[in-house]
Amino acid sequence: MDTLNELLNGFAAAMTWQNLLFAFLGCLLGTIIGVLPGIGPVAGVALLIPLTLNLDATGAIIMLCAIFYGTAYGGTITSVLLNTPGEAASAITTIDGYAMTKIGKAGAALTIAAVGSFVGGTVATIGLVAAAKPLGELGLLVGPPEFFALMVVGISLLVALAGKSMVKAVISGALGLLIAMVGIDPVAGAPRFTFGMDRLLDGVSFVAVIVGVFGLSELLSYRKDTATPTVHAPNLRSLLPTRGEWRRSAPAMARGTGIGFGLGLIPGMTGSVSSLLAYGAEKKFSRHRHELGKGAIEGVAGPETANNSHANAALIPLFTLGIPASPTIAVLMGAFLQQGLTPGPTLFTEHSEIAWAIIASLFIGNLLLLLLNVPLVGLWTSILRVPSSILTALILLFMVIGAYTINFSVFDVFVMIGFGLLGLALRHLDIPLAPMVLTLVLGPLMERSLRESLEISQGDFSIFTSRPISAVLIGLGLLIVFSPLLKLRKPKALNEDPET
């Protein structure tokens, strides 16, 4: 077949030692950048673009793609070990990943995350090869009303993330929505909740918020007696997941791959939505769902697979339609343009060799990341052997650097500190943090798509029920919310606290 031939040619081009080296360097740099909280994929790729400017187009793009998914994995490492997500898509992984670290299973969590990332990334790349064109068109079916309906499904997961008390989950969710409203009002164009501060015109920096809420509040809530257990020096056996853990991870990875792939195709959807939904799916469907939040491997495998699947699937709209589906892809697209390549269908007609070399390099990069990171799991977990006093100081330093480097602004450092205090207060009140993060991510997307939908229909709400895809999705959302009431599921499943 033609496609296969071209792919093989692509592999030939990608397997030169220079290009392999670029892929390797990209994975390594990406992982390191991802480990620093705050510098997520967007900033990571943007910061390293200058490094690639003098390379030839193939090498440059290969390296940037490798940095791109390397940062995604690096973000996981800090989520698991330090309860501080390196980027938004890994925020949900902190829940079970960090719980696993506390019980001395950090190695297993990281290994599963690396394998899950590999599986998700590779399957999505196969999807890119096999069905790029029809899938790209499919993403276009999702217009503002369908997008809004998807957000309804997402918000309905509040139920799954509710923890002990639904009321507390709703309070947490509402807080997230309030925070998300700060900035320029997208309907009237006027500033709202900015308290006259220019800095707040663009809203509160999401990364600063999650670093504060999850990381700093964790650090602040350390007491002498609780600080020590986190410094479990993992033994060699705990580095590898047990057979039972592999068995439990497999279905989670399958679900994560599907969710990430599907959502990755939709322009405007971010990886964090995928990982949140994948976690929600585990809460609903995992056979061990009652263990989620206490260090269940599914809570790592699902979201981590989903965000890598998402990242690779998000390249499909770029390659097939020339549409950057996420901010990181937009940065990547900028790099394409600087290399004289215009992403889109013409990429395959005008620069076919480069396009296929890049696709081949995605396979290679995913494999390299796995080869690079599984052996390094021991190294990463040895971070935990550092005495807790020094570790705490280092984490604090990294958090400050992370918050500062988002926009190179001291203001974001204060935002991080403020939200750290808020997170501490919420922990004391036993209010779960996950719903807040969910609405913080989904709120703006929901508001935006609601507004656009109503502009299209000129104020007629029936647009959401008259279009088949959105009608089905809204139905699904309602089903998720009301299924516990209908006792379709054991209500006990909802009585677990995802935060511990």
Partner: protein
């Protein structure tokens, strides 16, 4: 290499903050014009939009040439958000010593100060234009299978049934929104605007998925779509045909004397010493007119159209007058 030094700077600055608990704000030294720029002192080029967009790409294309011409590091810094307002605020509040310059695009830079509701802390006088780089005219496009074959047919339909056709913009009070207001004011053809505040790529996606009827965009956004047969451009809002769309008639040819478009250039905070301004203007001119840069810009469908700082200033003032006329219309229609 620059990246490394930038990360290192960030690390250093952040640790300083961490250690001392206060923001390190190195005061800008008064540049004596003669030795501008000091070797090793970085010039920040503030881009008020996110990386990957047209403004950012243009800035990154001229950056290496600026470095060569000025003999020092030039760093592109993205400060996106609030329709450019955040980046422009940063640019205009920097010291006018030549070490902070920025990409300025209209209508964003022109519009925010006109609307008091936005609370912009700058006016046109806060900028010192250094040179114009491109004009990217606004176009009106419909679906390839649309019943409207000419601009007149489309506008007549929108006149007969106001608000029956949806049209994309890239947000409230953006160039596209103003273009729709200009059309409405002079032809009474009224579209129902759908504001895609995330920008052109989101608007284009919605158009490709047939969720909006009319795409209002820039020439550079539709050059590729036209080649692929995914959009039928009906008119270009400029007096001359766009080189990348030679078959598409202008609004003027179709009988509508309307011009609109996005214009991008570079500016410094007002009050630059004359000597420094002269050096920067010269370097920017060389960079904009560099043949490789021009070639890459035109590959993106962007037409290089250089104007000196003084001429750019005049042009900017003219634009402001045009926008003021339709501003009430734009503020009213939501």
């Amino acid at each position: 290499m620059k990246t490394r030094s930038r990360i290192a700077t960030a690390l250093a600055a952040a640790s300083l903050i961490a250690l001392t608990g206060c923001g390190a704000n190195a005061g800008a030294t008064n540049a004596s014009a003669g030795d501008f720029p000091k070797k090793g002192k970085t010039i920040d080029l503030v881009v008020a939009f996110s990386s990957g967009g047209a403004v950012d790409t243009a800035a990154r294309l001229i950056q290496p040439i600026l470095e060569k011409e000025l003999g020092t590091n030039v760093e592109v810094i993205n400060k996106p958000g609030a329709g450019g307002q955040i980046g422009y605020t940063q640019l205009t509040s920097a010291a006018p010593d030549g070490y902070t310059i920025g990409a300025t695009g209209s209508p964003s830079v022109v519009v925010s100060p006109l609307d008091p509701a936005r609370g912009a802390k700058y006016t046109r006088d806060s900028f010192q234009p250094l040179g114009r780089q491109v004009i990217d005219p606004t176009v009106i496009a419909v679906q390839p299978d649309s019943p409207y074959k000419t601009l007149k047919e489309l506008l007549d339909a929108a006149k007969a049934n106001p608000k029956s056709l949806t049209a994309s913009t890239t947000g409230l009070q953006t160039g596209e929104h103003f273009a729709l207001a200009q059309i409405q004011e002079s032809t009474s053809s009224e579209f129902a605007p759908v504001h895609f505040s995330e920008g052109a790529s989101q608007a284009t996606t919605a158009f490709l998925g047939k969720h909006v009827d009319v795409l209002v965009a820039n020439v550079s956004d539709v050059t590729d779509l036209t080649k692929q047969g995914k959009a039928r451009v009906l008119g270009v809002m400029t007096s001359e045909r766009a080189p990348s769309l030679p078959d598409i008639p202008t609004f003027k040819e179709a009988g509508y004397d309307l011009e609109a478009g996005t214009v991008r250039g570079y500016s410094a905070p007002a009050g630059l010493p004359a000597e420094v301004a002269k050096k920067l203007e010269a370097a920017i001119k060389t960079a904009i007119e560099d043949p490789t840069v021009k070639e890459k810009m035109s590959a993106l469908g962007l037409q290089t159209s250089y104007l000196s700082g003084e001429d750019y200033k005049q042009f900017w003032a003219g634009q402001e007058e045009d926008f003021k006329k339709v501003l009430p219309l734009v503020q009213k229609t939501n």
